[in-house]
């Protein structure tokens, strides 16, 4: 095609058209690659602890909430099912505050029902069969178990009611096998035991042999966890000595609340905190079951002291840090060498509002003030107005400056930095002992440089002068360290810190704030 001949010729010509770029192109490309690489490194360095802490937090939260749901589900489902028994019994009996005749037992199902809005009083119906509750859960679980509780009703309990009890018991058995002792199992054990007593048939006993024949050794762990037998007032003519005591006349009042209206967490807590107060066993078990105070908020005061330094990247301290407003050292006078910048002290105060997210995770937001310093050697001070060009290529006038240190004239100078900051942190409790708690604390701070007396070295003077316009005002700081409890209100927090951003606005600087220190945290909660 004739049209394409021209294009082909142009292509051929242009394929051989090469131009040699100037040397600055590669230098600039190389600098930008390094900068990009450093930026990515800092990004990942910053992201890694966030992801790590987030992942651990979510995992722990998920594990905690799973355990909580397990407890709540077990108690509520059993209670609901047993409540059906109450309602069935109520429908049939419709008797309140009646007395239990001798040789008759209360329906144990009433002991776990909490869904009716009004206090329920159940009077068991005559039953020809003697209850055969072997499980002593009832004795230990109820402060004054009463003879009636150990008795089963009743021919009048419907077949449906019994079926519910049996299924509840089966669930209890399964959960008891699968769950740890201090979680759902005790609750279901108790309910199963009660349900089995309530069923009162030999057939039922055969179906639930584990429930009916639990060894006494397990009792302390299991009995007090019976949920929602909340104020059970049992009055009897004489205290029951054994489960087969049948000669008392008993009235049972059970104030109950509708659980449907309560969130899981509320139900769970009310269950744990209201059941069976008094006994040592109950207290021990409640202590085991005690839940972390979720969403609890309180203030913490922190003071810290430490060592602050300037780092070259993540490496060691850089000498000649502020040479010629950060230009290369070449061409500098051997007579005047800029001082090495030595680490100084840091100190500060901070306030945090802590949020307890789970048993092991705490989030906090805070604010504070931080003082940092670095030290160097200076020479004589010259009070003279000079026009200087800083590393941002801005002309500036300085009214005084310092000569570099010499053998004859040398004095210490402290570069000071004053920061105000807001922060967010995540505290993960790694070891939660009775006396000592050890956690891992990661804090992210946004710091504003409020004031500074930092001096910069300029080879062209040569000398040091103050120019805060080239300092970065907003800085991100990352802190990481352990928290070790010391008493109920004190935490000791050794930490290291680093600022991923350079201290200067221009990209040529590779100096970063860094340091380490010790923080004391004092909890202001009551």
């Amino acid at each position: 095609m004739r049209e394409n001949e021209f294009e082909h010729r142009v292509q051929e010509k242009m394929d051989h058209f090469h131009l040699r770029p100037s040397g600055t192109v590669w230098a600039e490309v190389e600098r930008r690659i390094r900068k990009e690489k450093r930026r990515r490194f800092i990004f990942w360095w910053f992201l890694l602890p966030v992801v790590l802490a987030g992942g651990i937090g979510i995992t722990l939260w998920w594990m905690n909430s799973k355990a909580d749901r397990s407890i709540a589900h077990t108690s509520i489902s059993s209670e609901k099912k047993n409540n059906i028994s109450i309602r069935s019994a109520e429908n049939k009996d419709s008797i309140k505050n009646s007395k239990i005749p001798t040789n008759h037992t209360t329906d144990t199902a009433i002991s776990t029902g909490i869904t009716t809005a009004e206090p329920a009083t159940v009077s068991p119906q005559p039953n020809d069969q003697e209850p055969d509750i072997k499980s002593p859960h009832v004795q230990n679980g109820i402060k004054d178990p009463g003879a009636g509780i150990s008795r089963a009703t009743t021919d009048k309990i419907s077949a449906t009611q019994q079926a519910v009890k049996i299924s509840s018991t089966r669930q209890s058995k399964k959960k008891k096998e699968n769950q740890p002792r201090d979680q759902g199992a005790p609750i279901t054990d108790m309910q199963s035991a009660l349900a089995s007593g309530g069923g009162n048939s030999s057939k039922k006993d055969k179906q639930i042999p584990q429930t009916a024949a639990l060894p006494p050794a397990e009792l302390p762990a299991t009995a007090p966890t019976l949920p929602s037998i909340v104020p059970v007032s049992v009055t009897g003519t004489e205290p029951p000595a054994a489960t087969n005591q049948t000669s008392s006349s008993t009235t049972i009042n059970i104030p109950v609340a509708p659980i449907a209206a309560l969130p899981d967490d509320t139900v769970q807590r009310s269950v744990v905190h209201t059941i069976l107060p008094g006994t040592d066993t109950a207290n021990r078990t409640m202590a085991k079951l005690k839940l972390p105070p979720l969403n609890k908020k309180y203030w913490v005061l922190g003071v810290h002291i430490g060592r602050s330094s300037l780092l070259d990247g993540l490496g060691s301290r850089k000498e000649n840090l502020f040479a010629n407003a950060f230009q290369p050292v070449t061409g500098g006078s051997q007579l005047y060498r800029p001082s090495v910048v030595n680490p100084g002290i840091s100190a500060g105060i901070s306030f945090y509002k802590m949020h307890t997210v789970s048993k092991r995770i705490q989030l906090a937001f805070g604010f504070g003030y931080d003082y940092r310093s670095t030290r160097m050697k200076l020479g004589q001070r010259i009070d003279s107005i000079r026009n200087v060009t800083n590393s941002l290529s801005n002309n500036a006038f300085v009214s005084n400056y310092y000569r570099p240190s010499t053998q004859s004239v040398s004095s210490d100078y402290t570069n000071q930095y004053h920061f105000l900051y807001v922060s967010g942190l995540l505290d993960w409790t790694i070891i939660q002992g009775r006396k000592v708690k050890i956690g891992w604390r990661n804090e992210w701070q946004l710091r504003i440089l409020a004031a500074s007396t930092m001096l910069h070295y300029d080879y062209s003077l040569p000398g040091y002068y103050k120019d805060n316009t080239i300092l970065r005002k907003a800085n991100i700081f990352l802190q990481s360290g352990l928290t070790i409890s010391a008493g109920k209100r004190l935490l000791i927090n050794p930490f290291v810190e680093y600022s991923p951003a350079t201290i200067l606005k221009n990209g040529n600087s590779s100096s970063h704030y860094g340091g380490m220190g010790l923080r004391i945290l004092f909890s202001l909660k009551k």
Binding site: R2, F6, V10, K13, F17, P21, V25, W26, V29, K37
Partner: protein
């Protein structure tokens, strides 16, 4: 060192490999950038941006095609972005909807060196220059050019025909001037 090895070393962050990759393509790519811009400084800026993109996107390079073509594509895209972002070029990059201009079938003899031809291409109006480079030199179709520049393929065809006609007239003029000079010299 093979291209694949060079790419691997660059991905590992070896400075020497990065420098070699630059040396391999810098001159030809500067020629490309030169054709799209109006000054050598702008061309070097494009070259810088392009190479930074090459290094940061090198992990996306698949070995199924030549590395040179991949680098070239990045340079072209970088050049187009530069033209769109730079006000000086953006104002001149005006693609008017004009009736389709028939493409001339004249094929003048290119008795000039590559730099002279490149200089003539750079003297075209910015819109003509860009479309001529994309179609005649890089080989993109008008549909592709339309997508790249956000214009219709008809506009691209029309602009290209005008650019081609204008360039050919300049080339013929240039040839005429050379011939005239030769005769005058005799």
């Amino acid at each position: 060192m093979s291209t694949q090895q060079l790419v691997k070393d660059c991905l590992r962050g070896k400075p020497e490999a990065q420098r070699q990759l630059y040396a391999l393509f810098a001159e030809s790519m500067l020629g490309l950038c030169y054709r799209y811009t109006k000054s050598i400084n702008d061309a070097e800026d494009v070259l810088q941006d392009g190479f930074v993109k090459v290094y940061t996107s090198l992990h996306q390079y698949k070995s199924d095609g030549p590395l040179g073509a991949w680098v070239r594509r990045i340079m072209v895209n970088t050049a187009l972005n530069f033209l769109k972002k730079n006000k000086k070029y953006r104002d001149e990059m005006y693609f008017s909807e004009q009736p389709l201009h028939p493409v001339a079938d004249d094929n003048p003899v290119l008795d000039m060196d590559a730099k002279e031809l490149a200089s003539l291409i750079r003297q075209l109006p910015q819109g003509y220059q860009t479309i001529f480079n994309l179609h005649a030199v890089e080989g993109y179709s008008h549909v592709e050019i339309g997508e790249m520049l956000g214009i219709s393929d008809g506009t691209s065809r029309s602009q290209y025909a005008r650019a081609r006609a204008l360039l050919i007239s300049w080339i013929e003029n240039h040839s005429f001037e050379i011939k005239k000079g030769k005769y005058a010299g005799k």
